[in-house]
Symmetry: C2
Subunit: 425 residues, 2 copies
């Protein structure tokens, strides 16, 4: 059987420039979240299936990558025809955070402001721009029922977009409580409310008329008419706490656009109050979102703890940064030291180490090629300089330093080379 | 069923200080690897089982976390009693890198110097200090058969230990080629060579006499005597390329201790030449290791490509840094802005945003507690200052700024507060 060189469907390899861009973006997000007083949290990629299933993960629960039991436990499960999997890869960071907080909350400041960055996995049908492993960048405030928590989460995420120079981000805001009121007022029976929410949530994708048609088919004309006036109302009607959140965000981020969108649902079943979503004109989907989930930690047996959090769609953010030329992460060495011959390799290694000790980034050519191939290597690595130490230079205690942009070359001592290379960084 | 709040066996949660320490360590490792001209590479956590199995992963192949097929494919596999899993979590970073290089090598500089950081997973029996998810930090040079590649890999890893101020690291070095020669010279039959290597590799754990007893039982007295003179020779006998590697490393890292250790085996089946391991007096196991694996990429159908790489045992490194008090990662905010009342929350949020815009790290209290609880919060977060804005301060356009270490308090304007807080960072 041929061994595949491409990653499995929906999974990705990254080339050096991409890794550098992604790392730099993670650093920016971390810096901004920290500047708001959020503290870093980390959990393992693998959770018990009991943590991932049945706690309100919505459609994502169907997308869990399940890990098979091992050894005797697997054999026993196969013989008994019982569940073959016991673990799963996390599909979001909220459920692991709720578990983490339930375990460690008593040691933490109260309320607790967390940020949590890392990969999550979903067995989605692979399609363009949808991946089976992707990074999430969450901020959460656990233990506060104040609208101030929503304001901090939303403004921290807006500050991240601001730090990347991203313009035109719009915040859509709704309240799950208001949605429930509207559904009750329209007389929508309990068992149809999920379907109504799914229809209304598709407003941006399929348009107003198609949503109304779905509503009529689902709950009949009178209820649909009532819902059009509430969940599909243009502009919406803000009530406490949404109006306070909107006023504060507008005061804090003057360039921001934030408005009530009664059709906004967000998929997760664990949301209980305000929900929000970030949109950008260049994307059809969202650039992130979040909401209040006051009941989640009590499912782990602890006391009821109000909580609110948001997440940045890291992959979509990277897409926008790449398209607008703002991703630029590149890590070229300052210089490549060539290797004249195997006898002189030790000398090149010594020069490399000596320049590195002065704080420079120095690549010593690791192979055995001719000098021409080594200069090509230095070009490919986008190094500023190539250094040659032949028998003559080694004897005189100097090196030939060539600026790759201009082709200018000169024989320099170590100290002169250091000064030249450091000066042009 | 109670939902667990502890992570599954062998998996870990991290508290904020630990996450900060680990992130800082990853930054240091990245900086040092980059200073040698290594370029960052990333691959997904999940690989096809065909990539993980049968390519020389040794004992680790038995420890793969296997991911179940999904949907119809799973039903079909169950009905046909065929393989239920199609994917697995990577157990090291070398096999994914070899796949990655086989796919992308033609776009890269040649030779290619890669570094690759990330979690790997092994279904080990959980025990103290052994985890099922842990971080690896690899450097590799692909496409060079020169001993210079080993020198760059070993010195880059020693430079990482040096950057952490770690003293007393010793490099053990051996050559799989020499091992094969010694086994052949002693007349050890092919099928017993694996067992002999496993016995010899236990020298540090069970002692010389116990190893000799195992050898006698396995291959008889005459062959065991011959192996004692080669694989168990004290100090060993260096030959090309080991002697060149040792001389160069000693010249480049004067404080280093590097010596041939004929009993060093390293578990992976894919090693073909020099192998090495880093040890520290405070650890019974190794702090990292690596070797030459010239045949690995050809298993992916490409041309034979010489390669050599090494890995830092990140979890053990963190253990040493924590024990020696060198881990210190902490991210306290510069100040906590308290919230006097819900009416004045917007004012506190504004002050927080204004101070952040000046480059400070400012936590606005996100809850609704009394001022006393808010001061306790500021203490727990190890903030430098707490800021209070009551109705009086709000009216006068000032804020009370309290230094938490001294208790000293003064009414300051925004600009005065900024200068005070920034000065004491």
């Amino acid at each position: 059987m041929a061994i595949p060189t491409t990653p499995p469907s929906g999974l990705r390899d990254f080339l050096p420039d991409q890794v550098a861009s992604r790392s730099r973006a993670v650093e920016t997000i971390t810096r901004v979240y920290r500047s708001f007083g959020f503290e870093p949290v980390a959990t393992a990629a693998i959770e018990d299936l009991a943590v991932l299933q049945g706690l309100g993960g919505g459609e994502n629960e169907k997308l869990i990558f399940k890990i098979m039991k091992r050894g005797e436990a697997l054999e026993r499960a196969a013989a008994e025809k019982s569940e073959l999997a016991d673990l799963g890869l996390r599909f979001d960071l909220t459920l692991p955070l709720a578990r983490w907080y339930s375990k460690h909350g008593s040691q933490l400041p109260h309320p607790f402001k967390a940020f949590h960055l890392g990969p999550v996995w979903r067995a989605e049908r692979a399609q363009k721009g949808r991946y089976r492993e992707f990074t999430q960048c969450d901020v959460d405030i656990i233990g506060s029922d104040s609208w101030g928590a929503e304001v901090e989460v939303i403004t921290a995420i807006l500050a991240v977009f601001g730090a990347f120079g991203l313009q035109g981000v719009k915040v859509h805001l709704n309240d799950r409580g208001l949605v429930d009121q509207a559904l009750a007022a329209a007389g929508v029976p309990e068992e149809k409310r999920g379907a109504v929410c799914v229809s209304v949530d598709k407003l941006d994708k399929i348009g107003r008329d198609a949503v109304i048609a779905e509503l009529v088919a689902s709950v009949g004309r009178p209820a649909a008419d009532a819902l059009v006036k509430t969940l599909l109302a243009e502009g919406g009607v803000a009530a406490d706490p949404l109006d306070k959140i909107i006023a504060a965000v507008k005061a804090l981020v003057p360039a921001s656009t934030i408005a009530v969108d009664p059709s906004l649902m967000r998929g997760m079943g664990y949301y209980t109050g305000p929900v929000f979503e970030f949109r950008h004109p260049s994307l059809s989907g969202s650039l992130g979102g979040g909401g209040r989930y006051d009941k989640l930690t009590e499912k782990f047996g602890g006391p009821s703890t109000p909580a609110c959090g948001g997440s940045i769609g890291f992959e979509r953010l990277m897409l926008i940064l790449e398209e607008t030329g703002k991703a630029g992460g590149r890590s070229a060495p300052d210089a490549v030291v060539t290797v004249f011959s195997d006898e002189l390799r030790a000398r090149s290694l010594e020069v490399g180490a000596a320049l590195r000790a002065q704080g420079l980034s120095i690549d010593v050519y690791p192979g055995t090629g001719k000098l021409k191939a080594q200069f090509k290597y230095a070009d490919q690595k986008k190094a500023g300089y190539a250094i040659v130490i032949g028998p003559d230079e080694a004897g005189r205690g100097v090196m030939q330093v060539k600026a790759l942009a201009t082709g200018q070359e000169q024989a320099l001592t170590l100290e002169e080379a250091r000064a030249l290379i450091a000066g042009k960084r």
